[in-house]
Symmetry: C2
Subunit: 244 residues, 2 copies
């Protein structure tokens, strides 16, 4: 793990790093409470990156309001990472197939599965490295990710026993067959008029989660219109489930 | 409005009253803040009454934690009210029809509609009377009711322009055709394994609400198993929407 920069604002320290060839950002309290800190892994959306405004806003609130650490790395072919020829080819192929009338859900599922074969081991390695840092430590772990962050988050949370609680959503069941292996508390966000994820697919993904504690929060509006008040609930959720 | 008794505990004053022949309970802060207070009308569940433990717990928290007033009256044929022969006959008839294989949802719908023809004007009269009291006043009004309290609450909220925000749930669309006339913010509770309300009926009722701000909260478990954490959310919801 190599640190590239460290800056601070509003009590939040941000360190940019690379781990092998993975670029990431780590946010921690400037006035560090005693480690180990709860750590939330953030999965960014499709076409976004580790310092996407939504990711950044959530990371800052997790640090400031909960005293947690947060980390986000660029998904392959996103942010500071090079293009992946295979993904580009597949994306173009899929676009053509959808334009020709094919159902998008199975295509998205296959694409997520392909990307997750890389991100799941990458994110586990990031967890290993970040939890070895003196100012973070091996505390409880949470996961947050919607849309692509849900498609990649479901296999990650299913594979990673250190994750104790997860916020997921804006994803469908077909794209996330590993949901039945998730047993930790989940807060699941669904947009009632999601133009990208059919409503029944979103409901089916919530249904498929094996967690005994799982809450579905649905709100009116499209894929990108989750109401800001849901972020307050996300903070309360992590504060409750990642309490030391 | 005739007061029968007044008691206090933990900072909450409880007054039992009758309005015409309707028995009710009113909860207000003992150390009264300046009226008008926000007032939440509580609709109890089927077979329950105005001092049901769930109603009582919510009323006390609304008073203590939000400084609101709360009121609940017995639905006809519930609590301290006399039996209604017509309801008993219909209930027995419906039981027989369900036992014979008929779908319960339309029968429940017809029954709710019958009871609502009495409760909607009764609850509106209670609102008039309570908001004329010096220690309550004509402040913002909210409504809370699940199960029967949703079946009767939907026509009440649809008919009553003074209600600004409502918590509803554990009810189905067929039983609540007035949902499309509700435009105020709604928090809607749904139990994922509700043995009394089919899931698609609950989702359809949420869908039918005309409110721009409406959140569906679904949790695993049966009709009576709403997790206690939802009550915290209900308090936050009323505190936000009934702020003076």
């Amino acid at each position: 793990m190599r640190f590239l920069s460290a800056t601070s604002s509003d009590g939040v320290r941000e360190q940019l790093f690379t781990l092998d060839d993975i670029p990431g950002a780590l946010w921690t309290p400037e006035a560090a409470p005693a480690a180990p800190l709860p750590l939330v892994v953030l999965g960014h959306g499709g076409g976004r990156h580790k310092k996407d405004p939504e990711v950044l806003a959530l990371a800052h609130r997790l640090v400031r309001e909960c005293g947690h650490a947060a980390v986000c790395v660029d998904v392959p072919a996103h942010g500071d990472r090079p293009k992946v020829e295979e993904y580009d080819r597949l994306a173009a192929e899929n676009q053509a197939r959808v334009a020709a009338g094919e159902e998008p859900a199975p295509l998205i599922a296959a694409f997520h599965a392909l990307v997750a074969r890389r991100t799941v081991p990458e994110w586990r390695a990031v967890l290993d490295a970040v939890r070895r840092l003196d100012h973070v430590g091996a505390g409880p772990v949470g996961y947050w990710g919607v849309s692509l962050g849900c498609g990649l988050g479901v296999p990650f949370v299913a594979a990673e026993p250190r994750v104790r609680a997860a916020v997921l959503g804006l994803g469908g069941a077909l794209a996330s067959p590993e949901a039945a292996r998730i047993t930790v508390p989940v807060r699941f966000l669904l947009q009632w008029h999601d133009e990208r994820v059919p409503r029944d697919q979103g409901l089916a993904l919530y249904d498929a989660l094996a967690s005994q504690q799982k809450t579905l929060h649905a709100n009116p509006g499209g894929h990108a219109e989750v109401p800001p008040s849901e972020q307050d609930g996300t903070l309360r959720f992590f504060a409750r489930h990642l309490a030391r």
